[in-house]
């Protein structure tokens, strides 16, 4: 009889364990289902959906970072929700609504802290990656209306730091979290009008803020914060001929390949080529529409570009040596996001209006597979766990 009870106990605990997978997490990823407020957990080796996880709130503009063990995905929702998803068990481990309207997040170099930037009420909140307990609350500068500035362009940086921009008060802040109980702030004023997004170069050295209120960009060398801010590419922006801008490009998508960086022009049907050492523009590549993301294949040989409405049914591939478009693909309407396999052999593209993610071989440029995903947007593979600024 005792044995039978033991057996029943075992059966019930197996029932739980069986829901979780014992497998490596190196080839896994998350795809955002923007309308349903859910995510699909996928694996890239056999191109399969493993789980669907629901109840993540408003994911209409969501992003994801990974724990250092690549088991947990932290999903930042538009509604200020921060959700911790276990991708081996397909479960929502915890969810906190930490702000009124959030715009992105980052994970610290050591993997212990999650930072979230907020539109409402502004500022940055920092949480324990393990428990999602609040560790630090960094309010933004007050605007004349008595509200905290919107914070944008939040990234992690080497040295256990976070960097972000203050949209309403034209600032860039660096937070040193080496002592989590007493964040050390370095604040730069006069960062240019309305910084609306930011990026950090793949080596984690340069932070660049895009400006909505004027042309040009603002550069901070994180190896030499004592030198302060530098304005670069003064002709980059909306310019005097105020063109209709259907969607501001994502700076996180900026591609660095060799000595060149490739920037989506704002409002123009162009990709700008920039010398990554001098930060001077060296060329322009005409493309099919207003670019949103320009992403380098991991070996730097190609740049893949998607576009704002009404050209968002198209993807173009640029050769980084000849600076020519070598292929124009028409994968379907709502081609919103692209993610390369970490070693670059394939790229996954969300096609919102087809409820599909399409997979392309990056050598033949042919489609080699697809997966059903409900209104897919962002795609995030676990290899991001090992990278700075992603």
């Amino acid at each position: 009889m005792r044995l039978i009870f033991a057996a029943l106990f075992l059966i019930s605990s197996i029932g739980q364990a069986a829901d979780c997978l014992t497998r490596g997490t190196g080839d896994l990823g998350i795809i955002i289902e923007r309308a349903a407020g859910s995510v699909k957990v996928i694996e890239t080796t056999r191109r399969k959906v493993l789980f669907r996880v629901k109840g993540l709130g408003d994911l209409s503009h969501a992003s994801v970072v990974y724990s250092r063990d690549a088991r947990y995905a932290y999903v930042f929702g538009r509604d200020g929700g921060l959700s911790k998803v276990d991708i081996l068990c397909g479960t929502l481990v915890k969810r906190v609504v930490q702000g009124g309207n959030s715009i992105g997040g980052a994970i610290s170099q050591d993997g212990r802290l999650i930072a979230v930037s907020n539109y409402e009420p502004g500022g940055v909140k920092i949480f324990s990656a393990e428990t999602l307990a609040l560790v630090a609350d960094i309010p933004a500068t007050q605007t004349p209306k008595g509200k905290g500035s919107k914070t944008v362009g939040l990234v992690d940086a080497p040295g256990q730091r976070f960097v972000f921009s203050l949209y309403d008060t034209n600032e860039i802040w660096v937070v040193d979290m080496n002592d989590p109980k007493s964040p050390k702030l370095t604040q730069f004023k006069e960062a240019g009008l309305q910084p609306y997004d930011g990026l950090i170069t793949p080596d984690g050295r340069y932070y660049v803020a895009g400006l909505f209120g004027e042309d040009g960009l603002t550069l901070l060398d994180l190896w030499h914060v004592e030198k302060g801010l530098t304005r670069i590419l003064s002709h980059y922006g909306k310019g005097e001929q105020q063109l209709p801008v259907y969607k501001m490009p994502h700076l996180e998508g900026w591609a660095v390949a060799g000595n060149q960086a490739f920037l989506p022009a704002i409002g123009h049907h162009e990709i700008l080529v920039v010398d990554h050492n001098s930060w001077q523009a060296t060329g322009r590549i005409p493309v099919y529409g207003q670019p949103v993301f320009a992403i380098a294949r991991p070996d730097g040989r190609q740049i893949w570009v998607n576009f704002a409405f009404p050209h968002n049914d198209t993807i173009q591939v640029i050769d980084t040596e000849t600076l020519k478009v070598i292929k124009t693909l028409k994968p379907g309407k709502g081609a919103l996001h692209m993610e390369f396999a970490p070693r670059g052999e394939e790229v996954w593209i969300s096609i919102r209006d087809l409820d599909q993610v399409k997979i392309f071989d990056t050598t033949t440029l042919e489609q080699i597979g697809s997966l059903p995903v409900d209104k897919p947007s962002g795609i995030f593979f676990t290899s991001r766990a090992h990278k700075t600024g992603l």
Copy 2:
């Protein structure tokens, strides 16, 4: 009664399952125990040993690559053994002795193929990553003595290729494995005398072979194999003053940081600085001994160097901006290998004669931990699964 049988059946299958871990593999790694022919499976988050796996043969000069899901480590032993280790279960899944004396291996871009280069009988063999079944056997050019040339410097390259050098017949070969049943070979003769090791740049574009028989190095641009080989750095090598060389430096350890590459000089107490665009030498940094590995912190701000006997108790840290040694550490005799956490916050160093791996914070340059490991040599973290040429 049936239930009891079911219970017993469950207990026995749980017994097996319980040995395996359900956890992410992003923070795991392997440390070679060179004398015991075993490996330790470790995790970096809590700095713990998870498993010891024995029976891997002669690991006196071993290296490791990872499956694309980061669950399996392929260990290349000196005795020609190729071992597949399950790092979630701590088990040796399979072991084949594929050659008489092997010197390293690589995994294909898509993760499906494992290539091993051999001294004896020479040539490269390519195996299924899943089963370790032989897929292709590529014999080397015969030497005048009727033996196959030793093959060295084997790396993976984008486009599902492998690249390696033939020591005895002075060649560099490229194998295209897009069709695994019919490997396509591109062979370059007159690659310089006795290429003894090779590296591929982190972007996967340039293959560089070091020469034992003459000064200089040989460069192959894999974006333009039609242009053939180029000789570079003609003063790099043992030179006319034939100094005693205690250990030829490892080319795989070459550090690329920004536009600079840092090369261990051969026989000299120096690190060479090379412009990564022009492949011209631009400087020399005096160091404590004959360098073996010169490895860049992932953000490119520091180069960490270890040394050949009798200076192998020392590690030096170089600042890549000032090109000065900023710290000399004395971690213990037999400081054989270093591995950075993927985002660079710490470095793990094998100290053979102390039977310890010591862990250093790369900001403070202070020791922050250690682990007991029997005669440790190579350290390999799973983040290598996502990189070309590692």
